[in-house]
Symmetry: C2
Subunit: 335 residues, 2 copies
């Protein structure tokens, strides 16, 4: 223990990070030990924390601006799926060695972009120097009308399952990232490949959906670990079974091209993760109004299945036949 | 990147951690993606985040219960110094490999003890598996009457400086930990050595002082990086100079015995850190009332110096002569 207790640790650098806190009075310019937050009247606060680490959630050669975006986006995604409006976040950085100022400047620029996109401000945080991968831990705070946070465990039998946006782009992007030759094999043009790669780097949670989830969803959560796994969590928490129609999963143009060429990659779309879209359960008689309200705020939602009494998740392939899911994951893909 | 995105990460284990969230309705038994918090009426929330990591803030052979206590205590210390009453916390754990259940049980037992001592409840969190040291990142939330968070930058020239409890125990404990032979050299008996070692392992912030800081302090912060460094921060933030009388630093019985034997170890007391006591600035005409109110709630506070116009921190030694502080820390100790 070369460093004495408390060594290697400090509040966030004011010169780098104070501009990110400028819009948030309670951050006190990052000059104090704590931030304060005057809660919006009549609202509950919604709290979440998630970390992204080098080698697990991003690559060491990712741009610092992209790492910053992702660290914030994965937390805002949780807030959005709970119906919450983002307010502020705390940032805890761990570096194996002191980062270059250019890296910090890029990181801070990425945070600024993400803050503007998500309507969230930096409230405070700290940095630590310690061995191991660079990691970015964010605690995000949002708000919902009192008692209205959208939960995971409150879906009902008969509810329809909706997802926002398109699925699988990020997982296919990761596949291209780790095996660049695949893009040509799959017949993707440069624009298509870049679109998938970009979705892995910069998840874009559908913030405009939040208020509609409060109005229409019986339950919701974000899809971070893959549709099948996360749908299983929602169904299990609600004491229900889920049936997903794999042929209805919403796909981007390049993802559609990929599946046209290799239909078995539907498994990557359904299980790959890092989507940061919303999975929502909606009563059938509210479904059309939900779809319309979402569309009017610019978010496309797609009905992909249904909840019923029972347990477990089933998903059909593009051919309508069930995909087999083994104890440890996907054992078989349709031929 | 062996793991796919999202791999190696999960919400906190319910079987281990849900009992810690039992008293907090908004934690939803740790079964949801986010927690919610209904803010106390008329209060501001106070937010802080701090991480403790193996090899930096604790030793790899420390008991998991002690690591848990410290991870929570260092955050509650920040809340206390701002006048805040603890409410809830989020916990983000990073393990290089899956921990043994016995380790987790000990860790969870330590959290339970700390929660009871500090009146705080677990609201949520996540665990990550990644290389590097075990690290425990806590985001703690407290509350103060609206607009009353005690700040760092609001002290005034002429204010007296007070500290709570005793200083240096933890830093001396760390010294004994790294060099066990020192206890005998310093003439410490077992009880004395253990008291110092225990203060390093289990900081105990003076929660009962929080409301008195709101009533009496013009500024305050917790002492985590050493009295001199932290006093320098408070003075600088307030645009003032601080003069500390080293002969007045409050000492425990074993710390007093150590300094009787080796007066130069006053530098360890004044700069060693990990005290997790409160440094407060109080106007002279309020000082006696502050001392009395603190004593009535069981917290001993000691006047150790004064703020004045100017800049910088000076501290006198036990002999009343100034201790010399160089650009990079303590250059010289009195003979």
């Amino acid at each position: 223990m070369a460093e004495t207790a408390g060594g290697g640790e400090d509040k966030l650098s004011q010169s780098t990070f104070a501009p990110l806190a400028a819009g948030f009075a309670g951050a006190l310019g990052l000059e104090d030990d704590c931030a304060f937050l005057t809660p919006p009247a009549g609202e509950d606060l919604v709290l979440t924390t998630d970390a992204v680490a080098e080698g697990v959630h991003f690559f060491s050669d990712d741009l610092p601006a992209d790492i910053a975006w992702k660290g914030l986006a994965v937390n805002v995604s949780d807030l959005t799926a709970k119906g919450a409006r983002p307010i502020a976040y705390l940032l805890s950085l761990a570096f194996p060695e002191r980062p270059e100022q250019a890296w910090l400047d890029g990181f801070s620029a990425g945070l600024a972009e993400a803050q503007a996109a998500f309507g969230i401000r930096l409230a405070g945080g700290d940095t630590d120097r310690r061995p191991g991968p660079l990691s970015v831990t964010v605690t995000a705070i949002g708000s919902v009308p009192q008692g209205r946070m959208v939960r995971r465990a409150t879906a009902r039998a008969g509810d329809l399952l909706f997802v926002s946006g398109t699925l699988g782009d990020s997982a296919l992007g990761l596949m291209l990232r780790t095996d660049p030759g695949r893009a040509a094999e799959l017949g993707l043009d440069t624009a298509g490949a870049n679109a998938l790669l970009g979705r892995y780097l910069r998840p874009d949670p559908p913030l405009a959906l939040a208020s509609h989830l409060i109005s229409f969803a019986t339950a919701a959560m974000d899809i971070s670990d893959g549709l099948v796994k996360d749908c299983g969590r929602l169904a299990r928490a609600s004491g229900l079974a889920a049936a997903i129609d794999g042929g209805r999963l919403p796909l981007s143009r390049p993802a559609r091209e990929v599946l046209d060429r290799e239909p078995r990659l539907l498994a990557v779309v359904a299980t790959g993760g890092d989507d940061y879209q919303v999975l929502a359960a909606v009563a059938p008689d509210r479904a059309e109004a939900f779809r319309r309200a979402a569309a009017e705020s610019g978010v496309h939602v797609t009905e992909i299945g249904r909840l019923a009494d029972g347990a477990g998740v089933t998903i059909t392939g593009l051919d309508g036949r069930p995909l087999a899911l083994g104890a440890t994951g996907w054992d078989h893909f349709p031929p």
